[in-house]
């Protein structure tokens, strides 16, 4: 990439210049490749070029033992005919390999036919949701090493019971270019940074882990602000020490209060996946054919918004070149929309919603979430807690999973307390929440005014593909949720 193109223009222009300069991918060249795929009897074709640099530096036992740097590059070519997709990819970005992939992808169709020539035109807006002063992968490793050393010393100084500190900083800089047979041609440049801190606290024979991470699509300098990373380390230490005191979790059905922010993973698992277009087009989702129906209590509004500046789940355009937008999935309790990629939108007679995402050039796009959250309500969070006599207050979670078809979902609390007489009581560990997606939101009885988004660490898995996502939630009360613990 030339110095000039690095500084000029938006993410689209910078991305285009990168692929043009480095791989000689001019519009006419891209048009010829698309025409190779279209030479068979297919409806549409698209190309996805990617160049991603990832570096990670990890510390344990007080030292940075290793540095990693990984460059991934390649092209994926897709041909579509009806519901049928042909996909071929290569890690060699040359016109020849792209043409070969195009011809392989086109082989899903058994006959050839004449086709109209492809004419590409820029489709990008001027928007750049995540401008950075410096690619995070260009920041010298020396500086990251020194920073992790500070993180380590700071964590250990918090409490003598902290025995182990593991910290890592992962920086990614991705450039992508999409060209499609309908003329779409758009590029993007996506930074992504993340700091992870895990500590182990020991007291006598008991050992517990505390973890906290944060990140997003912004300059690493923001994370390196002491106020920001120190509060993150404080959290990891606090959770580990809290877990030393935690008691086994009760088992059974009880009222649950979810804290703001990361507990939004409930929305992601319980309803988000079930509202992805592919499952609904195939009618394999527990939410199939429920558009316009009540799926949540009055007052519950859930959106998926890929346009939030600098968030981990945000994108200027999705991986098919469709601009992202704010999609209202549930409005005041009624199901109003699905998340769509191009293929499923077309087959369902709907509009693409900017949710066509893929892990890399080696993967087919799928309808996926971006940043999924519930809008704030009116209730005072303190009052919500007081409204529960005996139940569970869950503040932070590890991971979750859902069975789309039966609607059953599960997620595991990493910080939770018993609610005793309307007050936060004993911390409990090992709490797992399980429920039924189509009815869990019907049992939301209070919605707080304290909407918060998560810290920027979520990765969603589907069909073996991981993509960065965000979630958010105000404090809410859910009546009668099953809590899995060991205490009867």
């Amino acid at each position: 990439m030339s110095q000039k193109s690095a500084q000029d223009g938006g993410a689209d222009a910078r991305g285009l210049a990168f692929f043009h300069d480095r791989y000689d991918l001019s519009d006419p060249a891209l048009e010829r490749i698309l025409e190779t795929a279209l030479a068979r009897r297919v409806d549409a074709a698209d190309l996805y070029f990617e160049h991603t640099t990832t570096d990670s530096v990890s510390l344990e036992e007080g030292i940075v033992k290793s540095g990693d740097r990984h460059v991934e590059q390649g092209v994926g070519v897709r041909a579509i005919r009806g519901e049928r997709q042909g996909y071929a990819h290569s890690d060699d970005i040359t016109l020849d390999s792209a043409r070969l992939a195009a011809s392989t992808a086109g082989a899903i169709a058994d006959a050839s036919r004449p086709h109209a020539p492809v004419a590409l035109a820029s489709r990008a807006g001027a928007r750049d949701l995540y401008p950075v002063a410096l690619a995070p992968t260009e920041i010298p490793v020396t500086q990251k090493v020194a920073w992790l050393g500070e993180v380590d010393r700071y964590a250990r100084a918090r409490d003598p019971r902290i025995q182990q500190v593991m910290a890592s900083v992962v920086c990614q800089y991705k450039r992508m270019l999409v060209a499609a047979s309908d003329g779409t041609r758009v590029a993007d440049v996506l930074p992504l940074v993340r700091l992870n801190v895990q500590v182990i606290a020991a007291d006598g024979k008991r050992r517990e882990v505390g973890y906290q991470g944060a990140g997003g699509r912004f300059d690493l300098a923001q994370m390196q602000d002491p106020a920001r990373w120190q509060s993150l380390v404080d959290e990891a230490v606090r959770i580990a020490l809290l877990n030393l005191e935690a008691r086994p979790c009760p088992a059974g059905t009880m009222d649950v209060v979810l804290g703001p922010g990361w507990p939004g993973i409930l929305l992601h698992e319980a309803i988000g996946h079930g509202l992805e277009g592919d499952f609904n087009r195939k009618r394999t989702s527990a939410f199939s054919d429920k558009l316009g129906q009540r799926v949540a209590a009055p007052g519950v509004t859930v959106v998926d918004d890929g346009t939030l500046p600098a968030r981990r789940g945000s994108l200027n355009v999705d991986d098919e070149g469709t601009p992202t937008r704010r999609n209202v999935l549930i409005e005041n309790g009624v199901l109003t929309g699905y998340m769509q990629d191009r293929l499923n939108a077309k087959l369902m007679g709907m509009e693409p919603t900017g949710n066509g995402r893929r892990e890399s050039y080696a993967h087919l796009p799928l309808p996926r979430m971006t940043n999924t959250f519930m809008l704030a309500g009116q209730d005072d969070p303190e009052e919500i807690l007081r409204s529960v006599r005996n139940g569970l207050y869950a503040v932070s979670f590890g991971g979750g999973q859902v069975d789309i078809t039966s609607g059953k979902f599960v997620f595991s609390a990493s910080e939770a307390y018993r609610i005793e007489d309307g007050r936060i009581g004993t911390p409990v560990k090992g709490a797992t929440l399980i429920g039924n997606g189509p009815d869990v939101l019907m049992r939301v009885s209070r919605i707080g005014h304290d909407l918060a988004l998560d810290e920027g660490v979520g990765t969603c898995g589907k069909d073996g593909q991981g993509v960065p996502v965000g979630v958010g939630l105000p404090t809410i009360r859910v009546d009668a949720l099953t809590v899995g613990g060991t205490e009867g």
Binding site: V57, Y87, I108, C249, D403, V410
Partner: protein, 457 residues
């Protein structure tokens, strides 16, 4: 594929990379080069859903630079195999290593590198000539068989067939150069059953190094359909303590979690609940768990590990007693022990510890017999969520399965969790079934745990 020009060409590239990184200033170095050719198809209903084909390769260079107090280490990887790109990467690796801290335990193996190259039956050359149309046909047969099983099979997520071929070359500055070829094939079917109560999905799969090792496609579809059908009418059960049976698809996850807690890295970090338990009784006396990297045709088999040491048979647990950790060179040095030949390695990362073919030794009774002798309890056929904490042993996961009453299946169960402490669960294993079926690199016969907490209504 075994002894071909392409394999030799890859060896030459690996050696070029090794020479470049040593010249650039590495005191020790190793190079891993992987080239793959993968095909994947999915059929859903009457239609092909997708056909995917790909060639890919990856080169990983690890540079170790001698400094006061140990080696400094870095790993750089790319898919660009052009000589100039390799030269540039080699310099980057050394420069990056110089930014890290010297580590006295870092370094390649001092001795014991693999000298033999046993034929582990990792692929059948004839499979390379099988056209993609034949795999589409396999997927179609599985899909049709699943849909034809019962009128209540109304839909599906599809049936998927895959074939992957790989060449792996590993070279290190300890004068090691090794290469092998392998393949893996799979077939997976996921039908949906429906009645007035709602929809239920389930799946069945078969995997193997050779196409002829796979189960018949129609049998895979039928078994997947049978499993989906028996989940219809699922409901919750009352909260309580009951015996829990894990079938041969859910039991392997317990064995895998136990092996992860015997991983040398979690031992020296003291982040495993087992870290002080070597030599102790950690499971009931009927439990013997083995990891063997040289099972012929095994999906985890390989002639040498990620550091060039010979793979071998390690008994992790013998008759309930913890007998071995799983170690690579680094974690072994941290613990003052020797590697168990368990280094796993991808091109983009340093060696870490991994299992190869891991299994629990089978017992006497079939699953049907175990069900028949259970008065009241749960058979778990699916687990969801990630509720296991390796540091404390706390275990709590979402589950679905079948409720057993008086030795017979009473009804399907869903939306429950099962919980316990891994320490108690292992000691509480009171039955081990006789069926050992491999669906991947980890296998286990059915297991019964005397008591776990089931949370439901």
């Amino acid at each position: 594929m075994n002894d071909d020009a392409r394999g030799q060409a890859l060896e030459a590239i690996a050696l070029q990379a090794l020479e470049a990184v040593c010249k650039a200033g590495a005191s020790q170095a190793d190079v891993l080069l992987v080239e793959g050719d993968d095909r994947e198809v999915r059929v859903r209903g009457e239609e092909i859903d997708f056909v995917k084909q790909a060639q890919g390769r990856g080169l990983g260079i690890r540079a170790l630079v001698a400094a006061q107090g140990g080696f400094q280490t870095a790993i750089v990887s790319t898919s660009d195999l052009a000589p100039q790109a390799i030269e540039r990467m080699a310099h980057e690796a050394v420069a990056l290593a110089r930014e890290t801290a010297p580590d006295p335990q870092a370094g390649l193996p001092e001795s014991g590198l693999a000298t033999d190259r046993p034929d582990l039956a990792l692929f059948d050359p004839a499979d390379q000539d099988v056209p993609i149309a034949a795999r589409i046909e396999d997927a179609r047969r599985a899909e049709q068989a699943a849909r034809a099983t019962d009128p209540r099979i109304t839909n599906s997520e599809g049936s998927q067939a895959s074939s992957g071929f790989a060449r792996i070359v590993y070279a290190s500055s300890q004068d090691f150069l090794g290469r092998y070829a392998s393949a893996s094939h799979g077939l997976f079917s996921e039908p949906i059953a429906q009645d007035t109560g709602g929809m239920q999905r389930d799946h069945w799969s078969t995997t193997g190094r050779r196409l002829r090792d796979l189960e018949d496609a129609a049998a895979v579809g039928r078994e997947a359909a049978r499993r989906a059908l028996r989940r219809l009418g699922a409901r919750r059960v009352a909260t309580g303590e009951v015996p829990v049976l894990f079938d041969s698809r859910t039991a392997p996850s317990l064995i895998g979690q136990l092996a992860a807690c015997a991983n040398g890295y979690s031992i020296y970090r003291q982040s495993s609940f087992l870290h002080e338990s070597m030599g102790e009784r950690i499971a009931s006396a009927s439990v013997t768990i083995i990891d063997d990297g040289r099972l012929p045709g095994g999906l985890g088999s390989k002639p040498f590990d990620g550091e060039g040491l010979p793979t071998r048979r390690n008994v992790l647990v013998r008759e309930g007693r913890l007998e071995s950790w799983l170690l690579d060179c680094y974690s072994a040095r941290k613990l003052g022990l020797a590697s168990t030949g368990s280094a796993a390695r991808g091109t983009g990362s340093a060696p870490r510890v991994g299992t190869t073919n891991l299994w629990l030794e089978p017992g006497e009774k079939t699953l049907a017999e175990l069900i028949a002798e259970l008065d009241r309890g749960l058979l778990v056929t699916e687990l969801i969520g990630m509720g296991f904490n390796p540091t404390t042993g706390d275990y709590s996961r979402g589950a679905a399965g079948l409720w057993i009453e008086g030795g017979e299946i009473a009804h399907a169960v869903e939306e429950i969790t099962i919980a316990g402490r891994m320490q108690d669960m292992l000691l509480g294993i009171d039955r081990i079934g006789s069926e050992l079926v491999w669906h991947g690199r980890t296998a286990s016969p059915p297991i019964r745990i005397a008591s776990m907490t089931v949370a439901g209504e």
